[in-house]
Symmetry: none
Subunit: 236 residues, 2 copies
């Protein structure tokens, strides 16, 4: 299954190593790090135990966007309820869709910093928001423990859950979606609808809406075609 | 749920603390230790983070028998297939019975030493033998990671924890969505992107996309604002 575990801004290298071990025990192999505080690091290697190969192959990125560029579906993990329009799904409910999506593209499981979690901006780069149901009085799973549970659910659960029927076309990649949103932003600036000096929350809403929708490649193509037609007419 | 996590002969106090944290995040509170190598220990306390109360209440026993004395059902966790008369069950299959048994008595989840696991003698003290399905090439879950997954399966699988409240605004009505789609249709006609005489499937795709997204009222408002701005510029 092409599943990439993404750790954004991890503070403790030991957690990176423990996460590598966790994902390898569940049969996965791809680790991506966004701005790790320390990496490589002897603590990471020590905690990886027999998963040093996962650390050696790990990719390091300057932004979450870059880490997701070739992913068709990204699930952001969050312990807290967020004021976002896509409601968090419990891991068990989300897993069948994630496993099914991994049959036709690369799926990312995205985890935030140990203390602060994923920022709202980072969550908006993800098409799904997933929660590991936990003790309301103490929901603080260790980072590697969260990775372990998520990978367990995806791998072990995939065998027992019937997969949803595969309808729909080829999913858009992160790069496709970013390209479309950048195009939209430039068009709304040109139209005068959004003032670049004082943009308000329009683009944030659009990012959220289209993340929730889970765009297909062909939809991105026709939406960009529509924007290009508006631009041509505005320029006449 | 009266569930006791039993660690038999743990070598590393850090793992005891991490296990305490793991079980507390899943809503459990009882930890029993059989002949821990070091306990109490500052490493255990450090790794427990906000679960120091679990360590303080932990019971220490000289034998597994003593730790299980008041339990009605004990499940021994093992990564390896064993030459024992009761076959190992995958965790997911075992969980419903364990959760059901916890309704009428105390259930124990028993984990062995980090290196050697549970001895055959210890496994024979358990009524069930449970396996966490793992990568055949690397099945070595960290002790606390195994506790985390087992407790997750028991608690989350049983639907014990409420989900955090979802954000999200007022959903758009059917009328709102139809109004928006009609507005979009008229704008793409005006732009020349869609020929009213030969419209193709553009609007059908948009209908499907926005149905899937589940639009909010405020999103409809800003999308229509954007279309109106395009229209004004096209008419200049």
């Amino acid at each position: 299954m092409p599943v990439r575990i993404v750790l954004s801004h991890p503070s403790h290298p030991g957690n990176i190593g423990a996460a590598a071990r966790a994902l390898k025990t569940m049969g996965f192999g791809e680790l991506a790090l966004v701005n790790p505080r320390f990496f490589p690091d002897p603590d990471a290697t020590a905690m990886a135990a027999g998963a040093a190969d996962v650390l050696e192959r790990a990719s390091v990125h300057a932004s979450l966007e870059a880490a997701l560029a070739d992913c068709t579906l990204a699930a952001g993990f969050s312990a807290r309820g967020r004021d976002l329009s896509h409601p968090p799904m419990p891991l068990r409910e989300a897993a069948p869709e994630l496993a099914a999506a991994a049959a036709s593209g690369r799926v990312a499981l995205v985890f935030g910093n140990e203390t602060s979690g994923l920022s709202n901006e980072e969550l908006l780069r993800c098409q799904r928001l997933v929660t590991i149901p936990a003790n309301p009085a103490y929901s603080s799973l260790n980072l590697a423990a969260a990775v372990q549970v998520a990978c367990y659910e995806l791998a072990a659960g995939a065998g027992t859950h019937p997969l949803p029927p595969a309808g729909g076309g080829e999913p858009a990649t992160g790069e496709d979606v970013q390209g479309f949103l950048a195009h939209m932003e430039s068009a709304v600036h040109e139209s005068g609808y959004v003032d670049p000096e004082n943009p308000g929350r329009f683009m944030e809403r659009m990012r959220r809406l289209f993340a929730r929708a889970g765009l297909e490649r062909s939809e991105v193509r026709v939406l960009r075609g529509m924007l290009a037609a508006f631009e041509r007419r505005m320029r006449r």
